[in-house]
C-alpha cells in the first residue's frame, strides 16, 4: 500500500534527520549545554580542584559584586576599551567603504589591503605593535619629526588603553567588506532622484547611505561590542600587571587558572555574561530609534 510506504518513508526520513544531527548533538550537549549548566552550579561553590567542592550559595556573587577585588576595575577598563574602539572602528570602516564604493580603479586591491590586518594572527599583531609602539620605537620616532614627544604607549598606565584601541582600529577592515556589500545593495535610483532634488554628496550620505546601512551598522555594533568586551590575548600579553588595563576575561583567567578559584571565577563569568546580555539588549532597544528596515515590520 502506498500509504504504508509513505509512513515508512516518513519514519526513515525522521531517523535520518536525527542520525545526521548526532555529531552536532554530542557537541551541543558535551561542550555547550553541559558546561553552561556546570558553570552555573560551580558558581555557587568554592572549589580549588584539590579539596572537595563546598556549597556556598550566593557568597561568590556577593564577593564579586561587593567584595574588595579588581572586578569593577576590570569592568570599567573593559567598557572604556569597547565603547571607544567599536564606534571608532565602525566610523573608519564606513568611511573607507563609501570611498571604495565610488567608481575606483584598483578597488579590489584596496579592499584586500584594508581587510588584510583583520586576518592576521592576533599574537603576531600584538608583537608587531609592541615593537612599533615601543617607547623609542618607530611611531614615536615619526612623531618626533613633527616635534611631538610620543608617550611610552604600552608601559604608561595613561596610554595603555589608547594604545590597545589604536591597535584595534588598525584591524577595522573586516567591517569594510560588510559595509561594501551593503552599499552595493542600495538602489542607484535613490541617489539619482536625490541629485535631481539638488542634494549634495554629504546630504546624500546622511539621508540615504546611513539609513540604508543602519541594519549593518547595528550588526557591527553588537558583534563588535560583544567581541571587544571579551578581549583576551592582546591584554594578557601587553598588560600583564598593569592595573590600567585589567580587563574582564584576563581577570577571570587569572582567578581560574592562576589561583584555581573555580567557583569564584564561574561567578565572575556569569555576572559578566549577564552584563554583556543586558548591554546588548540596551543597544537593540536603542537601535529602534535609528535603524531603518526597508519595507519591513520588525
Amino acid at each position: 500500500m502506498s500509504s504504508a510506504r509513505g509512513m515508512s518513508m516518513k519514519a526513515k526520513e525522521t531517523l535520518a534527520f536525527y542520525l545526521f544531527l548526532t555529531p552536532w548533538g554530542i557537541g551541543f550537549i558535551v561542550f555547550l549545554m553541559g558546561p553552561l549548566l556546570a558553570s552555573l552550579v560551580l558558581s555557587f561553590t568554592n572549589w580549588d580542584l584539590l579539596q572537595p567542592a563546598q556549597w556556598v550559595g550566593l557568597a561568590n556573587y556577593k564577593r564579586v559584586l561587593f567584595g574588595p577585588s579588581q572586578f569593577w576595575l576590570a569592568m570599567g577598563n573593559t567598557a572604556y576599551y569597547a565603547l571607544i574602539l567599536v564606534p571608532l572602528s565602525i566610523v573608519v570602516a564606513l568611511i573607507l567603504a563609501v570611498l571604495l564604493n565610488q567608481n575606483i580603479i584598483l578597488r579590489r586591491f584596496f579592499r584586500t589591503v584594508f581587510y588584510l590586518p583583520a586576518t592576521l594572527p592576533i599574537v603576531a599583531v600584538v608583537f608587531l605593535w609592541q615593537w612599533i609602539l615601543a617607547p623609542s620605537g618607530i611611531l614615536n620616532e615619526i612623531l618626533g619629526w613633527f616635534g611631538i614627544h610620543g608617550p611610552a604607549w604600552f608601559v604608561d598606565p595613561a596610554w595603555i588603553k589608547p594604545g590597545l584601541i589604536l591597535m584595534g582600529v588598525w584591524a577595522a577592515g573586516s567591517g569594510v567588506v560588510l559595509f561594501l556589500a551593503g552599499l552595493q545593495g542600495i538602489p542607484k535610483y535613490m541617489y539619482e532622484a536625490s541629485a535631481m532634488e539638488g542634494a549634495g554628496p554629504i546630504r546624500q550620505f546622511l539621508m540615504i547611505t546611513v539609513p540604508m546601512l543602519s541594519p549593518i551598522v547595528l550588526f557591527n555594533l553588537i558583534n563588535g561590542i560583544i567581541g571587544a568586551l571579551q578581549v583576551f590575548t592582546q591584554v594578557y600579553i601587553i598588560a600583564r600587571d598593569n592595573k590600567a588595563a585589567v580587563m574582564a576575561v584576563p581577570y577571570l583567567y587569572h582567578e581560574a587558572f592562576g589561583y584555581f578559584k573555580m567557583g569564584y571565577a564561574s561567578a565572575v563569568a556569569w555576572i559578566f555574561f549577564i552584563f554583556v546580555m543586558a548591554l546588548t539588549l540596551v543597544v537593540l532597544r536603542w537601535s529602534r530609534s535609528w535603524v531603518y528596515y526597508e519595507g519591513e515590520v520588525r
Binding site: 534527520f17 553541559g34 590586518p117 586576518t119 594572527p121 590575548t233 555574561f273
Partner: protein
C-alpha cells in the same frame, strides 16, 4: 556672468554658454572629489601596510640594526639569520608542526559535522526540527568564558592536559555558525535533485555525500578557511592546556620565546618578528587564495540580523 545661472543644479540651463560653464565647473568639482577620494584611500592603504612592511624589514635585519636608535626604516643590508635561528636555537619547526597537527583534523571535523547537521536542517523533514534549529542558533549567544572552566575540568578529568586533544576534540562536532552558513547555501540547491537521486535508489546518506556535498564547494571552503583562521592563531586554549614546550602550537611558542629572558633581556625584536612572520605568512596565503569565500561568508553572517 549673467544672473540667469540660478537653475537648480543637475538641471542644465537653457543657455548654451551657461550650460558649458556649468558642465566644466561640474567636471572640475568631480575631479577634485576624485582626487580627495584617492588621497584618503592611498593614505589608508599606507597606514595598513606600513606596519607589515616594518615586520618584514625588522625580521630581515641584523641585531645591531634592530637595537639601534633611532630606528631605520630600511636596513642597510638584509640577512636571513633570524629565520635560521628560530628553527635551530628555538623549536619553531616543532611548534609549526604541532599547529598543523591541530588544525588539519579540526578543519575536517568542522566540515563533516557541520555539513551533516546543515543537511538535516536544510533537506530533511522531522518532528522537532524547528525547535532544534532555534536551539542551535541560540548557542551563538553562549560566550566562551562561561564554558571554559567546566570544559577544563572535564579534560583534566580525562587526563588530557598537555595533549592536543583539548584543542582538537571540541572542533570535531561542528558549531552553530558553520551549520547556519552551510544550511543557507544548501537551501538554495533545487530539491528536484534529491527526488531524482531517490528514484535512482540513493539513500539520504548518498544524497548528502554524492549530491549535496559536491555542490557545496563554496560554503565548505568558507568553513575550512574560518576554522583554519580561528585555530592557527589560537592562544587562550593552548595557554590553558599546554605547558610542555614540545606541545606548544606556534602562537604560544612565539609568546613563550619572548618570555624566556636571556640574562634578564627580552630576545631581540628581529628574532620575534621572524617568528611572527612564520605565524603570519600561512594565514596571509590562505587569505589571498580564499578572499572570495571569506566575503561570501561575511555576507551570510550579515543576513543573520
Amino acid at each position: 556672468m549673467s544672473q540667469t545661472l540660478t537653475t537648480t543644479p543637475g538641471v542644465p540651463a537653457n543657455n548654451d554658454r551657461n550650460n558649458r560653464n556649468y558642465r566644466r565647473a561640474k567636471l572640475a568639482k568631480a575631479a577634485a572629489n576624485k582626487f580627495i577620494v584617492y588621497l584618503v584611500l592611498v593614505f589608508g592603504a599606507v597606514l595598513m601596510l606600513l606596519p607589515l612592511l616594518w615586520m618584514v624589514t625588522t625580521s630581515l635585519s641584523n641585531n645591531e640594526y634592530a637595537t639601534s636608535f633611532p630606528p631605520h626604516f630600511i636596513p642597510t643590508h638584509f640577512e636571513f639569520g633570524k629565520y635560521v635561528s628560530i628553527f635551530t636555537n628555538h623549536d619553531m619547526g616543532q611548534f609549526f608542526l604541532n599547529s598543523i597537527i591541530i588544525v588539519v583534523p579540526s578543519i575536517a571535523g568542522q566540515i563533516i559535522s557541520s555539513s551533516m547537521a546543515a543537511f538535516a536542517f536544510a533537506r530533511l523533514r522531522a518532528p522537532g526540527k524547528r525547535i532544534l534549529f532555534i536551539m542551535t542558533i541560540a548557542t551563538l549567544m553562549i560566550p566562551y568564558e562561561v564554558t571554559i572552566i567546566p570544559t577544563f575540568i572535564l579534560f583534566r578529568y580525562f587526563h588530557w592536559i598537555n595533549t592536543f586533544w583539548p584543542l582538537i576534540v571540541p572542533q570535531l562536532f561542528g558549531n552553530a555558525y558553520n551549520i547556519f552558513l552551510m544550511r543557507q547555501f544548501m537551501m538554495s540547491i533545487p530539491t528536484e535533485l534529491d527526488d531524482a537521486a531517490k528514484i535512482d535508489g540513493l539513500g539520504f546518506f548518498g544524497i548528502w555525500r554524492r549530491i549535496i556535498l559536491p555542490l557545496s564547494f563554496a560554503p565548505i571552503a568558507t568553513v575550512g578557511v574560518f576554522t583554519f583562521t580561528f585555530n592557527w592563531g589560537s592562544f587562550l586554549a593552548p595557554l590553558i592546556y599546554i605547558s610542555k614546550t614540545r606541545f606548544y602550537p606556534l602562537a604560544l611558542g612565539i609568546y613563550m620565546m619572548t618570555q624566556t629572558s636571556n640574562r634578564g633581556q627580552i630576545p631581540p625584536w628581529n628574532l620575534i618578528m621572524a617568528g611572527s612572520m612564520l605565524l603570519t605568512v600561512p594565514m596571509v596565503l590562505v587569505y589571498f587564495f580564499s578572499q572570495r569565500y571569506l566575503y561570501e561568508g561575511s555576507n551570510v553572517l550579515g543576513k543573520i540580523t
